[in-house]
Structure formats: structure tokens, C-alpha cells
């Protein structure tokens, strides 16, 4: 069988979501952001809620999320997406509002907005992509950078004594009464991507049921920032990131696992 015989619509198992634009992704080849974007758009499309969905883009690598997600979007100041989403959700309670944020945005500069939006139980979805580094600005240390991990601002490795420990903000928000669903997933294999998609779907369904915050952490790679090729970075992620940031549900239907 020739390759061209295989490439037929009936054999297609994966394609770009209709809600992704044709703009070329600004992400590095091998980065998890593209998959995470696509999964979110697939879910919004499949749930048929695009007309009632408003997304909030962060500052960081995904600052241009609105270039790729073909939905109504507002771009927020660094770290403030949960505050922006709070107001949209409060003034449009019938809408689906989500933020898409990185670790620097959500867990450093935006910690207060994250904690308080979660604590108030705003009826929003937070998609949090954690790659342990500041990708956009060129690979500086993030709040989630692992101990000993080298970045441009921790060139000799993150020293816990002087730089603090990586922040497990997902566990932190899971302990707040306002969060209803908190999970940690990844998108580096088909199996993991499918699980993440299911999680995102659950999250938007929770919004429909007005359940409060659904918080999905996606542990992802940053091959450029980590100075590895995509395969190496995924392997490194499994070996180093997952032990510190274990995958799985942390809080389901308001109950800690």
C-alpha cells in the first residue's frame, strides 16, 4: 500500500479543529501548546457552544492564542486573565468563559488573581499550561521550574535555598472551596491528549451547570527553553516533571481525591 492510498478522508483519525484559524502557529515545533489549543477548540466545537464562548488570552507564549483560536477573545494583561474572566462571567452569566495561561502568568505575577478567582468560585474554566519556564521571553526561571533546572536566570540550576521551591499551584487551588474540578494532564502522546480533551469537556460542562472553577493543568514541554529536541524534551518531562507534578485528577465534583 502506498502512502497516498492511506491519505483519504475515511482514514482520517485526527485533523485540525474547525475552530482553529489557518494562521501558522507561532509555537516552536514540538511544543505542546498547539495540541492544547486544538483540543480546547475541538471541545467547544463538539459542544456547539462557540456562539456563547469567550476566551481570555494571557501574556507569554500563548499571548497570540487569539490568532489561532477562531472564537471571540480578549487579551489580558500579564497574570490578570482570571480577573478579566471573572468580570465577563459575572456580566454574562449564561456564557462560557475560559482563560488560557502559562505558568509565569498564572503562578507568578497572577497568583493573587488565580487564588481569588478560584476562591470565589467564579464560573469559569482555567486552562493552565505548565512547562516550567518562561518561553516567550527566552527561557527564564518560572515559579514552576524544577529544583536544579538550568534556565537563563538560574544558569547554575534552580537553587531551592535562595530561589524557593517550585510552586504546586494546582494542588493549592484544589484546596479552595470555589474549585469544583481540578486535574493535571499532558498532551505529549495521543493517549494523554485524549484524556486532556475529556478533562476540557468536563470543564465546559461544569460551566454549563454553573459549578464554579474548573482548573486544568497541562504539564507540557518547552524544547527550546529546555534546549532539547522535542523527543528528548518529552522524555525529560516524563522523567522529571511528572514525578514533581503527578498527572491525574486532584479534585472531582468538589471532592479532593
Amino acid at each position: 500500500m502506498e502512502v497516498l492510498d492511506i491519505i483519504k478522508p475515511e482514514n482520517q483519525v485526527f485533523c485540525k479543529s474547525k475552530l482553529m484559524t489557518d494562521n501558522t502557529l507561532s509555537y516552536c515545533p514540538g511544543c505542546g501548546h498547539g495540541t492544547a489549543h486544538n483540543l480546547a477548540m475541538e471541545v467547544i466545537d463538539e459542544l456547539g457552544i462557540v456562539e456563547d464562548t469567550i476566551g481570555v488570552a494571557p501574556v507569554g507564549c500563548s499571548v497570540f492564542a487569539y490568532e489561532f483560536m477562531n472564537i471571540d477573545m480578549t487579551q489580558a494583561a500579564h497574570g490578570r486573565a482570571p480577573a478579566v474572566a471573572t468580570a465577563i462571567s459575572r456580566t454574562w452569566p449564561e456564557k462560557y468563559v475560559f482563560t488560557y495561561q502559562g505558568d509565569g502568568d498564572l503562578a507568578a505575577i497572577g497568583t493573587a488573581e488565580t487564588i481569588h478567582a478560584c476562591n470565589r468560585g467564579e464560573n469559569i474554566v482555567i486552562i493552565f499550561v505548565n512547562n516550567g519556564i518562561y518561553g516567550m521571553t527566552g527561557g527564564q526561571m518560572a515559579p514552576t521550574t524544577l529544583p536544579g533546572m538550568k534556565t537563563s536566570t538560574s544558569p547554575y540550576g534552580r537553587e531551592i535555598e535562595s530561589m524557593g521551591s517550585p510552586l504546586k499551584i494546582t494542588e493549592l487551588v484544589a484546596n479552595l472551596p470555589g474549585t469544583y474540578y481540578v486535574t493535571r494532564q499532558s498532551v505529549h502522546t495521543h493517549k494523554h491528549a485524549r484524556k486532556t480533551k475529556k478533562a476540557i469537556k468536563t470543564a465546559f460542562e461544569n460551566t454549563r451547570l454553573k459549578k464554579g472553577v474548573s482548573f486544568i493543568e497541562i504539564v507540557s514541554n518547552c524544547n527550546s527553553g529546555w534546549k532539547m529536541n522535542p523527543n528528548e524534551s518529552n522524555k525529560w518531562m516524563e522523567e522529571h516533571m511528572f514525578p514533581y507534578y503527578p498527572l491525574g485528577d486532584i479534585k472531582v465534583k468538589g471532592e479532593l481525591k
Binding site: 464562548t53 469567550i54 480578549t74 468580570a87 459575572r90 488573581e113
Partner: protein, 374 residues
């Protein structure tokens, strides 16, 4: 019959927010303006009009909530006082950059730093000269009475939506805390979501329905496009100057000396003018009601007729820069003002006018004349 009430300036403003048909207020308590959020919480506007009131975790969160609601076309307002406004300015710059309508109230207190909780006008530069980063301007309204605290809310919203630009109501602790008779405006209805989409559907992010998606952002990495965006903003500001300048004058027709003052200082300067007139001094008063746009031409025209100007401000001299630019050195322009929360008396203002302008003014005036002839 108009509805009359004795109210604090802050309360008058809060009541006006509900009556202007606002959709949301987001704020964080700070003296001397906490009555605004307290009044709103007590009034249950969610029952009166369906308006949302939320106490944010910080001024930073509050202004970004304003940004969120404004990006969907909602009529949204926040209030704070000087240190809190400093925190909000990043968000204000984003509002201007993303061309969003919103109203920000600053009930100014003395600074810098934590400063004092007493009235001040030391945030003039911050309000009028940008404050936040980038090339932008706010339309700035300066109320000088509880009545104007009430009236300017609706006016501010109208300007904010006319230009899709943030508007600041620059008040101070004196106007905010003072109780006066206020004639309340009629309750305006809030827009329904359908009405809102019809009116602002070409830019607001309300959900992509029957149209291309809308994007609200202040980001443009292509410098030529960013420059074009800034030029577009400048066109708006030019239009504000041509169409929406506000000021008032008192006794300027025969005036030999001019006081320029806004807000609470204008109230005190009015009394100083009266005292001076009783002594036979021909004093006039120009009160800028908008600080941007600024009554440049009006001051310039008056400078042909008078022999000196005293800029009266509760600070060490900020608006005086704009007065001087407007007067183009035709006459001496001096500043008088107390600061740090101290409020000047009418007598002090009159004395300053006599000392700084009337006594010395004519000499410098003649000098200027000569040099302009040469």
C-alpha cells in the same frame, strides 16, 4: 419634581452609577472613597437594575475586571484614591490601547507614597499626562461639587462610549466627603444583551454569533501597524479637543487678573475672587471642567486682556504647566497651592495673587511686552 437629596459627594457618585444604567462596578476599598463601594453594596443594585457589584482582591484585579467587562461592551466603572490609582494604571493603559470604554474615578488624597488621607490635587500629572505607559490620553472630568459627582457619571459613560476610550473623573477627598444638596438624575435603563450586541457587536467580544470573531487586544508586534493604531488614538484625542472641551468662567469680561482652578480649588478660588472684588480688584476665574481636553485657546485669549494669572491647585504646581503653555508667555503665570492634605483658604489665595501677580506682575508684564516687540 426633581429628586433632591443631601448627600456626600461619594454617595452621590455611587447613586449616579446605578442611575446611569451601569452594568458593573468593581473596586477595592481605600480612604477617602470607600463610601462608593459601601453605598453600592448597601443599595443592592443587583435588585434595582441587575447591576453587578464586586469587591476585588486588589485595585489591580479591579481594573482588570473593568477591562474584562468593557471588552464585552458592558458599561463598567471603578473607583479608588491616589495609591490605588497608581496600581490601576497598567490596566488603564491597556484599556486605552485596546480602545475600550470605561470610567475610572480618582478621589485624590495627598501623596507621594501612602501620603495622607486628606484632599489633594497632586494627581493632576498622573491623570492628564498619561500616568500609565505608552502614547495615550484619558478624557478627564473634574467635578467641583457633589452635584457634579452625580452628573459626571453619565457624562463620563457617554464620552467613554463615544470615543471607546477610558474616562477619568478626577475628584478629591474634599468633594468626595462634603455633603451637599444633589439633584438626582432619572434612572436610565441598562441595555439588554440584544441591544448591546446590536450597538457594539462590531467590536465587543460577546461570543461569535452570525459574524466573524472579535478580538480585543492592545498588542501589535508590527511596528508600522502599532504606529497606525497610536495615530488613530491621537485622532480621537484631537476630536475630544474640538468637540468635548468643558470649562466655565466667572467675571472674566472685565478681569485684570485671572485665577485658574479646578475641582475643590475652584470653589475656594471663587470665594477669593469675591473677596478681591470687594476690595476693588478685578479678578476673574476660569475653571477647567475637563482637564484633558484643556481650555488652551480660552486661556490664551484671556491672556491678551489680563495682566497676570495665578494657577491655584492643591499641589506644588502641576496644572500651571498647561496654563503657561496656553498663555504662551503673554503674561506672568504663577502658582499657589497648599499640599499634603492642607486646604488653602480664600484669604491665602487672594494674598498670593496680590504678592505674586499684582505686586510684581506689571513689571514682568512690561518686560514680556518689550521682548515680544523686539
Amino acid at each position: 419634581m426633581p429628586e433632591l437629596k443631601l448627600m456626600k459627594g461619594n454617595e452621590a457618585l455611587a447613586e449616579a452609577i446605578i442611575r446611569a444604567g451601569a452594568d458593573a462596578y468593581f473596586g477595592y476599598p481605600i480612604t477617602p472613597q470607600s463610601e462608593i463601594i459601601e453605598y453600592l453594596m448597601t443599595e443592592r443594585p443587583e435588585e434595582r437594575t441587575g447591576m453587578v457589584v464586586l469587591q476585588a482582591e486588589s485595585e489591580v484585579a479591579a481594573i482588570n475586571m473593568v477591562y474584562g467587562a468593557a471588552s464585552t461592551g458592558k458599561k463598567v466603572i471603578t473607583s479608588s484614591s491616589s495609591p490605588g490609582i497608581s496600581l490601576k494604571l497598567e490596566g488603564v493603559s491597556y484599556l486605552a490601547g485596546a480602545e475600550l470604554p470605561a470610567v475610572i474615578v480618582n478621589v485624590v488624597r495627598g501623596g507621594p507614597g501612602l501620603g495622607t488621607i486628606q484632599p489633594s490635587q497632586a494627581d493632576y500629572y498622573q491623570a492628564v499626562k498619561g500616568g500609565g505607559h505608552g502614547d495615550y490620553k484619558l478624557y478627564v472630568l473634574a467635578p467641583s461639587s457633589a452635584q457634579e459627582m452625580s452628573d459626571f457619571v453619565q457624562d463620563a459613560f457617554e464620552i467613554a462610549f463615544k470615543y471607546r476610550n477610558p474616562v477619568m473623573i478626577l475628584s478629591d477627598g474634599l468633594i468626595g466627603q462634603m455633603m451637599e444638596k444633589v439633584e438626582l438624575r432619572e434612572q436610565l435603563p441598562r441595555l439588554t444583551n440584544q441591544e448591546l450586541i446590536k450597538r457594539y457587536g462590531d467590536w465587543a467580544t460577546t461570543g461569535k454569533k452570525g459574524r466573524e470573531r472579535n478580538i480585543v487586544t492592545s498588542l501589535d508586534l508590527l511596528s508600522e501597524r502599532m504606529e497606525a493604531r497610536v495615530r488613530r488614538l491621537m485622532k480621537k484625542y484631537e476630536r475630544m479637543e474640538n468637540e468635548d472641551l468643558r470649562y466655565e468662567t466667572f467675571n472674566c469680561d472685565d478681569a485684570e487678573y485671572l485665577l485658574v482652578a479646578y475641582g475643590s480649588s475652584a470653589r475656594i478660588a471663587q470665594k477669593a475672587m469675591q473677596l478681591g472684588r470687594e476690595k476693588g480688584l478685578k479678578i476673574g476665574l476660569l475653571r477647567p471642567i475637563t482637564l484633558f481636553p484643556f481650555p488652551k485657546k480660552q486661556i490664551n485669549a484671556l491672556a491678551d486682556q489680563i495682566s497676570g494669572i495665578l494657577s491655584v491647585e492643591l499641589n506644588t504646581g502641576q496644572m500651571i504647566d498647561d496654563v503657561r503653555l496656553a498663555a504662551e508667555h503673554k503674561v506672568p503665570v504663577e502658582h499657589f497651592g497648599r499640599t499634603g492634605g492642607v486646604i488653602h483658604t480664600p484669604e491665602e489665595i487672594l494674598e498670593a495673587l496680590e504678592q505674586k501677580i499684582i505686586k510684581n506682575g506689571s513689571i514682568r508684564y512690561n518686560k514680556t511686552r518689550e521682548s515680544s516687540i523686539l
